[in-house]
Amino acid sequence: MTNVHSAKMFTGFGIELTPLTLNDIEQVRQWRNHPDITKYMVDQSYINTEQQQQWFHLLSNRDDQQYLMISYKQQHIGVIYGKSLTSEPLLIAETIELGLYLDPESKYRNSILAFSPSLVFIHYLFHCCQCRKLLAHVLPHNQSAIRYNTQLGYEITGTDESGMVIMELNQANFDQAKMKLAKILRF
């Protein structure tokens, strides 16, 4: 299977999203292993270099997931990813789960710029793919992520059996939220 998104680059709201490359994965591993990131992950285990390379090798042969490096002013600041929940290719999947983490040491992590990658990627999924619904499972103590998702138009729809907060986003709510955020993110 070929990764259909492999050559795709997305831009908007001041940032660039480019497919993750082999050169990026060590930096991503370090971010992912940082306690500030790990504490909000379902899987909080430490990832070693071998596991990271293995993961990347598997990822490059999948079209149901897409990991993108986020860059601002030529500086890598984080990762955003989408996963089809039905194992269908991301391009035709109707329900997709999105994730994001920013460099824990970056000054942009707690700034409004953190909204840019989600605005760009979600717009692509709703308007250029066949996505009808985005889903997020958030740890209940991750209030920052819940607030962040709410600003993007997500609504809380319940909790799953493990106590994770379930949030859903449809295109209409996203488009409305995007208009509001774009009033401030004036690039």
């Binding site: 000054k107 700034s111 600003q151 955020l181 401030i184």
Partner: protein
């Protein structure tokens, strides 16, 4: 309301913190309430309260209470935060 009162009020609203916590040492890396959503609400509040439209680079660089003062002074030199 004076400029400093308006500024403090904007921080109280955006970060959902007490006025006592709004001081010159308040910065994004020092307070857990300062996240991307708080930053977004803060900017919207400042633009409305001070009737300014802040450049995106200034918005992204606004990472402390002191920086907010400096930025607003850049847009209105008649302001005083004394």
């Amino acid at each position: 309301m004076t400029a400093i009162e308006k500024l403090k009020s904007a921080f109280v609203t955006a970060l959902e913190i007490s006025e006592q916590e709004v001081n010159d040492s308040l910065s994004y890396s020092e307070h857990p309430a300062w996240d991307s959503t708080a930053h977004m609400i803060l900017i919207a509040q400042l633009e409305a309260d001070f009737d300014v439209m802040i450049d995106i680079d200034d918005i992204i660089d606004m990472s402390s209470f002191n920086q907010a003062k400096a930025t607003l002074l850049k847009y209105d030199e008649n302001l005083s935060f004394e």
